[in-house]
Symmetry: C2
Subunit: 367 residues, 2 copies
C-alpha cells in the first residue's frame, strides 16, 4: 500500500478494474486512484496486458508497491497476501460511451459473488441491472453508481445560506479543462493540513469522490436546475459539519471553453474568497478543440475577477510539454504580467501555495 | 381566438388549466400562452374563481376574446361554440414543487377520457403515472411532459459543428432572471419576419416551447454534461433545416446571478454574432435575492463582451416600476453610458431593434 497518511477512515481495500487500458487515456480513473486516494487502500490493478508489473512504475516511472494483476483471483490473492483482504472492486475504466463490455461485466459478477462491493463511475448504471442487483443482495455487497444523481427530493435549490459560511472558501479554477485543477486542489488541502490548518476538499467530479472527497457534487451528472443549489449545499455542509478553516473547491471546465464552459456556477454559488488559476502554458488551444484558441491567462483572470468580484491570488502551472528551464521562464513571465505568485505544485510542493492562500488579508478576510 | 398570424402549423386547440392561479405568479405559464403562442389556438382558460371574465382583460386590462371558464365541460363547449373543438389540455400552472393536486389530476383524467391530448411542463411527469398513461392509450390521446429530457441516446455532445452555421445568431441575454428575455426574443423574430427576413426562435425553456419554438432545448432539465452540445445542436439544426437568415436564442438566468448564473453556455456553444441585453432599470437586486445587488448594466456588458468576444448591439428595457417619463430618461441615460441603441419593445414594437440587429456590419458580418 502506498497511501498518504490521513485521519480519514477508509471505505475499504480496493481492486481497480482497468483491463486493457491502464496504459492509455481510458484508464484515467484508475490513474487517479493509483496516484492518490483517501477512500480506499488500493491492493491491485487488473490489466492482463501489463500483469506482473508495478502500477506506479508503469504510470509515473516510480514503483509504488501496487501490483498489476491478470484477473480478479490474482487481485484477491494480492490483498490477502499483505493482510488486507479486498472489500471493493472499483471500475477504473472511463470508456467513450460510459458502458462496460461483457468481459468486464463477468468480472463484476465474480466480484459480487466473492462478496465484494462494487463502485462505478460509468454512465451505464450497474445497480440498475437486475442480475447484478440480485447478486449484490444475495452476497451482502453494495453497488454504488457514483454518477447517479441523488433522488430529486434530496436535491437543494440555491437559498443564499452560503452567506453563513465563515470558512475561507478557495476555488481552484483552470484556464482549460483537464489541466490539473483537482490535483492542485488536493495538494493544497494536504499542505494546509500539514500546517495544522483544517481543510476540506469540495469535489465536483467522480474522480474526486473516488479519491475520498467527503463533500461535493458530481457537476456533470446533475440536472442544470440544481447545480447552484447543490454547490451551495456542499460548501455549507462542509462548513457546518467540520468547521474547517479552509474549503477548497475543485473547478470544472473553464470559463470560456466552447464545450465545457464551467466555473461560473462555482463563482456564483460558492462565493469563493479567493481563486487559484491552474494553467498549462504550452497549450495554445482548448482541450479537444484545436480550432478554439486558448484565451490568454491575463484575459481569463480579468474575466474571473469581473464576474465574481473576487481576486485570483495565485497561478499554478501544469508543466506538460515544458522542460525545467521553460517552467522557470514561464513562472517569471507570468509573475511579471499578472503580479501574482506562480507555483508548480508537482515540482515544488504546495507549501508556498498554502502560504499564499493563508495570507488572507490580501483578499479582505481576517487571517 | 386572438393569435398572431403566422405560417406555422398549430398543434391544435388548447384549453389551459390554471385553477386558482390565473391572477397570481403560479399562473405564469398560462399567462405566456394567453399573451402569445404559435403552438395552439387557445379556446379557454380554466379558473373557477374568475369564470365568466375575459382572460386578456384580467391579465393585461385588454380583452382578447379568450374566456375564463369554471371547468373542463365549459372549456370544451367554449371551443365548440366557435367551431374549434379543443384537442389539448395544457397545464398552465407552475407550482412550487412542480406537482399537481388531486383536483387537477381529476381534470387531466377527464380530459383524457374526452379524447384530448395533455401537455405539461410540471416536474412531476404525468406520462409516468400508469393510470393516466392507460387512459391516454385507451382514448387515443398523447401526454407530452415538456420537461422530460430526451433519451440519453438522442442527446448530443458539443462537436464544433456550430462553425458551419452561416445564419446570423443573436442571443437575447438579460441583466437578471425573469426580466423579459423571451418576450423580446419573440418580438424580434416577429419583426424580422414582418420585414421579410427568415428568423427562427431557439427556445431554452418550457414556455418558449409552449409558445411554439420549433428549435431549442429545456436548459433547466438537461443533465449538465449535455448543455453545450444540445445548444449547439439546436442552433445547427435550425440553420440546417430552415436556412433562416437569423436565429434568435432565448437566454436563461443572468451572467452574475447567484442562483441562476446563465448565458455562459449560450455564449460558448451558440457563438452568437451579436448579443441583445434585456434590462429592468428599476431593479436594484437580483430576482428573488434582495441581498444580492444587481451588477450595473455597464459591468454586465463588459463581462459579456470579455467572455464571448462578441458585441452587445442593443439594450432592451423592461419598464416594470417606471412611468413613461422615467422610461425615456433611462433610455437617454443608457444610450449615453453605453453608446448603444436602447428600445422598449413592449411600448414601441421591435422594428427598431430588428433594424439595429439587421445592421450586421456593425458586428463584423455581411448584411
Amino acid at each position: 500500500m502506498s497511501q498518504q497518511p490521513t485521519g480519514q477512515q477508509r471505505d475499504g481495500v480496493a481492486i481497480v478494474y482497468c483491463e486493457g487500458s491502464f496504459d492509455n487515456a481510458y484508464g484515467k480513473t484508475a490513474h487517479g486512484l493509483i496516484r492518490f486516494t483517501r477512500r480506499y487502500d488500493v491492493a491491485a490493478v487488473i490489466d492482463s496486458h501489463l500483469a506482473g508489473r508495478d502500477a506506479g512504475e508503469v504510470l509515473d516511472g516510480t514503483p509504488n508497491g501496487i501490483p498489476i494483476v491478470a484477473d480478479l483471483t490474482q487481485g484477491l490473492a494480492a490483498g490477502d497476501a499483505v493482510g488486507s483482504p479486498p472489500t471493493h472492486l472499483v471500475i477504473g475504466l472511463a470508456t467513450d460511451g460510459g458502458t462496460i463490455d461483457e468481459p468486464g461485466l463477468a468480472v463484476v459478477r465474480a466480484a459480487l459473488d466473492a462478496g465484494l462491493n462494487v463502485d462505478s463511475g460509468l454512465h451505464d448504471f450497474l445497480s440498475e441491472r437486475a442480475d447484478l442487483a440480485e447478486l449484490a443482495f444475495a452476497n451482502g455487497g453494495r453497488i454504488r453508481d457514483v454518477r447517479m444523481p441523488p433522488p430529486r427530493a434530496q436535491l437543494h435549490f440555491y437559498s443564499g445560506k452560503i452567506r453563513e459560511v465563515d470558512s475561507i472558501v478557495v476555488a481552484v479554477l483552470g484556464t482549460d479543462s483537464a489541466v490539473g485543477k483537482r490535483t492542485t486542489a488536493w495538494r493544497l488541502v494536504e499542505s494546509l493540513e500539514a500546517q495544522g490548518t483544517g481543510a476540506e476538499m469540495i469535489g465536483t467530479g467522480q474522480t474526486a469522490w473516488m479519491q475520498g472527497s467527503r463533500y461535493g457534487i458530481l457537476l456533470d451528472s446533475l440536472v442544470n436546475d440544481f447545480v447552484a443549489g447543490e454547490l451551495e449545499h456542499a460548501v455549507w455542509s462542509a462548513w457546518k459539519e467540520t468547521g474547517a478553516d479552509y474549503l477548497v473547491v475543485e473547478g470544472q471546465g473553464s470559463l470560456m471553453h466552447p464545450a465545457y464552459p464551467g466555473g461560473f456556477e462555482i463563482l456564483a454559488a460558492c462565493r469563493p474568497d479567493a481563486v487559484i488559476l491552474q494553467h498549462a502554458p504550452a497549450r495554445t488551444a482548448y482541450d479537444g478543440f484545436p480550432d478554439a484558441p486558448l484565451h490568454p491567462v491575463e484575459t481569463q483572470i480579468e474575466a474571473i475577477e469581473l464576474i465574481s468580484g473576487r481576486p485570483v491570488v495565485a497561478i499554478t502551472l501544469n508543466h506538460e510539454g515544458l522542460d525545467s528551464d521553460e517552467v522557470e521562464r514561464w513562472k517569471q513571465r507570468l509573475r511579471e504580467s499578472t503580479d501574482l505568485p506562480v507555483f508548480d505544485v508537482l515540482l515544488e510542493g504546495a507549501e508556498g501555495l498554502a502560504d499564499a492562500v493563508g495570507n488572507a488579508e490580501r483578499f479582505g478576510r481576517g487571517a
